[in-house]
């Protein structure tokens, strides 16, 4: 009897693909390295962008270039929410990983 459901079922390998792991016995069959599979990296990049934007807005505010206080608040809030989202996704992925590691073989 063949057990291969875990390959397609465990979404963790799609979210955080281990670099170069795709060769190891088909752990990662659906994700091609170097293609758009690395969702997590993209997410981190977007969150980082939003934080850089918030930083820029704060800098412009304190140097007096901009006087739009609410836009600074909005940018910070956006960065905050997206960072919370990132940490939630990361927590969920780690939970799934730990759940699998705890599994009795």
């Amino acid at each position: 009897m063949e057990i291969n459901g875990i390959n397609s079922g465990a979404g963790i390998s799609k979210v955080i693909p281990a670099n170069g792991a795709s060769g190891a016995n088909g752990i990662n069959p659906s994700v091609q390295p170097g293609k758009s599979g690395n969702f997590f990296e993209e997410l981190v990049g977007k969150v980082s962008d939003l934080q850089a934007q918030a930083d820029d807005k704060i800098k412009n505010m304190v140097t007096g270039d901009s006087k739009e206080l609410h836009e600074v608040m909005m940018a910070v809030e956006k960065a905050n929410i997206s960072f919370q989202f990132l940490t939630q996704v990361r927590n969920k992925a780690l939970d799934a990983y730990q759940e699998i590691m705890k599994m009795q073989v």
Partner: protein, 145 residues
């Protein structure tokens, strides 16, 4: 993310109300200014708000979330009140005319105060909307917890 769109719309509302507040401050500050660079007394200024599409250009066409109908607010014009100036009899004033009347700005401070309350409340409403969008987003994140 769509929550951010509603925060942007609220942000545009705050910008508009802040512009309005600036104009009200200007009106109150100049309630007694008899001279302007353009000549004559200061004229009361009023913003004109207009609804503009929140998502512009190609993105609006491709938008499937109904954001095509979403409108931001923008101050398109600052209107000068053309009503006649208040005339006050004060022959010693340097800006008095031949009959001894001084043309004072057409600003009614009481009206400006009422407008100010309205602008403050409208700004607060925008802040509340932005906060609600934020709490919706964080509540959604709680789903994953």
């Amino acid at each position: 993310m769509d929550f951010f769109t509603s925060m942007d719309v609220s942000s545009s509302g705050m910008t508009a109300e802040r512009t309005r507040m600036n104009l009200i401050s200007s009106n109150i500050a100049n309630a007694n200014s008899t001279r302007t660079p353009e000549g004559g007394p200061y004229k009361r200024k009023d913003p004109v708000f207009a609804a503009v599409p929140a998502t512009a250009g190609f993105n609006a066409v491709l938008d499937r979330n109904g954001n095509a109908n979403l409108k931001k607010v923008e101050v398109t014009q600052i209107r000068e009140d053309q009503s006649p100036p208040r005339l006050q009899y004060d022959p010693t004033h340097p800006d008095a005319d031949a009959q001894g009347y001084v043309a004072l700005p057409n600003v009614n401070v009481i009206e400006e105060m009422a407008d100010m309350v309205s602008a403050t409340r409208a700004y607060e409403a925008n802040v509340t909307a932005a906060q609600a969008a934020k709490s919706m987003a964080t509540k959604t994140l709680d789903l994953l917890r």
